[in-house]
């Protein structure tokens, strides 16, 4: 397993009309080839910013205040516009949330694929690509405009375009959030089969714990612009080491047991106007103590995972029964 993406202490903020908002507040992460990494977090946790940063696709009001991000060993912030374009073209593939707005409404699907393929492409190669993402009647699909396709079909077309140049990493940002429940699993299974076929690594950014737990081998949990827990699926979701992960799992639908009280996480996720000194989750945390308010917890390895919590040991010991929970949501 070679290192595909390395994120080092990355801080990114946005200049908005209401002042500066911190989206990423010192994130460290490594993505290996052929991995399926699920990044979990609420909206505003910074997961989309992280995903877009890998392709340097951040809006013009964004600002990198520290850190670096390497793809294939090269910093994407050091290279020129033409090189980053070539990197996107050859090594990265993106799948966005809403396929209907991802496809150009004024252009036939076949022509859009041809444009992305960037070079002379035969009709047959376009049909072959559409067949690979499991679309029936490929000639008709290629002749269609996006509005003539269903959401699921359109997302398959987007996947086809994303994998058309054999990328080594596929970044899927909430790829199923705008689709019907019945289609969601199909799209994720498609991504999985693409990985088996080509060995492409996948980063799945999602707020749906169930889907991430079911399809990803590695999990990273983000909160308030920070990575708070990362490790294998079994260790992170099996026995969470961070109070936030634990609370998420307890609040997830499907984890309830008869007689349980619903434990919603009290408070709201933060909008970061400044970099917090202590732990970002501290105001909502049941385990919080004095140090949590003043000292930022470093990401440290405990029991097969990395956790950014001063009291990770206590959290791990707190209630071993969450393993049963994991069995149910997966």
């Amino acid at each position: 397993m070679s290192e595909l993406v390395q994120v080092q202490d990355l801080r990114i903020s946005y200049e908005t009309a209401r002042g500066i908002v911190y989206a990423l507040d010192g994130v460290d992460l490594t993505v290996y080839s052929s991995q399926i990494l699920g990044i979990v977090g609420e909206s505003g946790s910074g997961k989309s910013t992280l995903g877009m940063a890998i392709g340097r696709l951040l809006p013009s009001n964004s600002l990198r205040t520290s850190g670096d991000l390497f793809v294939n060993g090269k910093s994407i912030f050091d290279i020129g516009d033409e090189q980053i374009r070539l990197l996107r073209q050859t090594s990265l593939g993106f799948v966005f949330q809403n396929p209907m707005s991802t496809l150009d409404p004024t252009m036939r699907v076949g022509r859009q694929i041809r444009l992305v393929l960037n070079g002379p492409a035969s009709d047959d190669s376009i049909y072959e690509l559409l067949r690979r993402v499991g679309l029936p009647d490929v000639k008709r699909v290629a002749r269609s405009y996006p509005h003539q396709l269903s959401g699921g079909m359109a997302q398959r077309v987007v996947v086809a375009m994303a994998i058309s140049r054999q990328p080594s990493l596929l970044i899927a940002d909430e790829p199923t959030a705008s689709l019907d429940a019945s289609v969601r699993e199909q799209i994720l299974r498609l991504l999985l089969s693409v990985r088996e076929e080509t060995g492409v690594a996948i980063i799945l950014l999602s707020h749906e714990l169930g889907l991430v737990a079911k399809y990803c081998d590695t999990i990273a949990v983000m909160y308030g612009g920070r990575l708070i827990e990362a490790g294998s699926n079994v260790s992170v979701f099996g026995r969470p080491g961070h109070p936030y992960t634990k609370a998420l799992l307890e609040a997830a639908p499907g984890s309830e047991r008869p007689g349980d009280w619903l434990e919603a996480i009290p408070g709201v996720p933060p909008v970061l106007q400044s970099s917090a000194h202590g732990c970002v989750f501290e105001p909502r945390c049941k385990f919080a103590q004095e140090t949590c308010r003043t000292v930022r917890p470093a990401l440290r390895p405990i029991e097969n995972r990395l956790v950014a919590c001063h009291r990770a040991e206590e959290v791990l010991r707190a209630e071993p029964s969450t393993a049963a929970t994991h069995g149910r949501i997966a």
Binding site: A17, P59, S60, N61, D81, I84
Partner: protein, 287 residues
């Protein structure tokens, strides 16, 4: 009342700070309006006093904008002109905004045949070229302010109907309107309590543009000699006079042309600013 005024001023200050160009435009506009309101009471001379000075005299201390061909001081005439132009455009546009707004809301809300008929009528009026229609209206009503009002109304009415109708259509689909209907609210209540506050923003923006169009129409018609008739002055009729003496007394055209352009420009800038404040566009760098 006082508190509302203060909060309005605060909101304006924050709007003007975000968008200085529009803030400046709003200030210019307010000064022009004030000038046209208090102008007649300022000791500037009689706008219709023939022979107050020499004819076609260049600007001087006594006549800051010079005099016209009958020896009238041009400054009070120009102020009378702004006030007439403002008054005509605003009156006509206010009336069409109310009529067009209610018609547009009703058309969108009622739908069906009523909507179809209103849309067709708006399309028909929209197809008339403004100035040519102005000539036709003048043929019927005769030259004068009535024709100007009628032409401004017929030009701006379809704009309001179309705009308000499309905005209402977009809003009527939202949940709160359905909720009000289910709760048994009457049509009038739905229109004025639930829909009206939501279409105000777009209507106010359209109002600013419509007033600038109204001022333009007044200018064109009076410039052609079929609008405001002498001895009354409007910016358009002043320009018409000025063009006759363009080479001997260019200050007449320059000053009235400048005032008209300034007024229309500041209204348009204010409209742009309001539109940006209500519906901002974010841009992504292409790289």
């Amino acid at each position: 009342m006082r508190r509302r005024l203060t909060s309005a001023v605060c909101r304006f200050v924050s709007f003007a700070r975000n968008d200085r160009l529009s803030g400046a435009a709003a200030l210019v506009l307010v000064s022009l309006l004030l000038l046209s309101l208090v102008g007649p009471y300022l000791p500037l001379g009689d706008p219709e006093g023939i022979g107050a000075g020499p004819r076609l005299a260049p600007p001087s201390f006594e006549f800051p904008l010079g005099t016209d061909e009958l020896g009238r001081s041009y400054l009070p005439r120009a102020i009378q002109g702004i006030s007439a132009t403002f008054l005509l455009a605003t009156t006509a546009v206010m009336v069409t905004a109310i009529i067009g707004g209610i018609t547009g809301m009703l058309a969108a809300y009622k739908g069906g045949i009523f909507d179809g008929i209103i849309v067709r009528i708006a399309d028909i009026f929209f197809a008339f070229p403004i100035i040519l229609t102005g000539l036709l209206v003048t043929a019927i009503l005769g030259p004068g302010t009535l024709s100007v009002l009628a032409v401004i109304a017929s030009a701006t009415l379809p704009m309001f109907i179309r705009l308000v109708r499309s905005v209402t259509l977009a809003i009527a689909k939202r949940g709160f309107v359905t909720a009000a209907e289910v709760a048994g609210a009457s049509t009038t209540r739905v229109l004025f309590v639930h829909l009206l506050p939501n279409i105000m923003g777009a209507t106010i923006i359209q109002l600013t543009y419509a007033i600038s169009i109204g001022m333009l129409i007044e200018g064109v018609l009076s410039f052609l000699g079929i609008g405001v008739q002498p001895p009354q002055a409007s910016l358009g009729s002043l320009l018409r006079q000025g063009v006759l003496y363009l080479t001997v007394a260019p200050w007449m055209v320059f000053s009235s042309g400048f005032l008209l352009t300034l007024a229309i420009l500041s209204i348009n800038l204010l409209g742009d600013g309001l539109r940006d404040a209500i519906d901002p566009l974010r841009t992504r760098a292409l790289q």
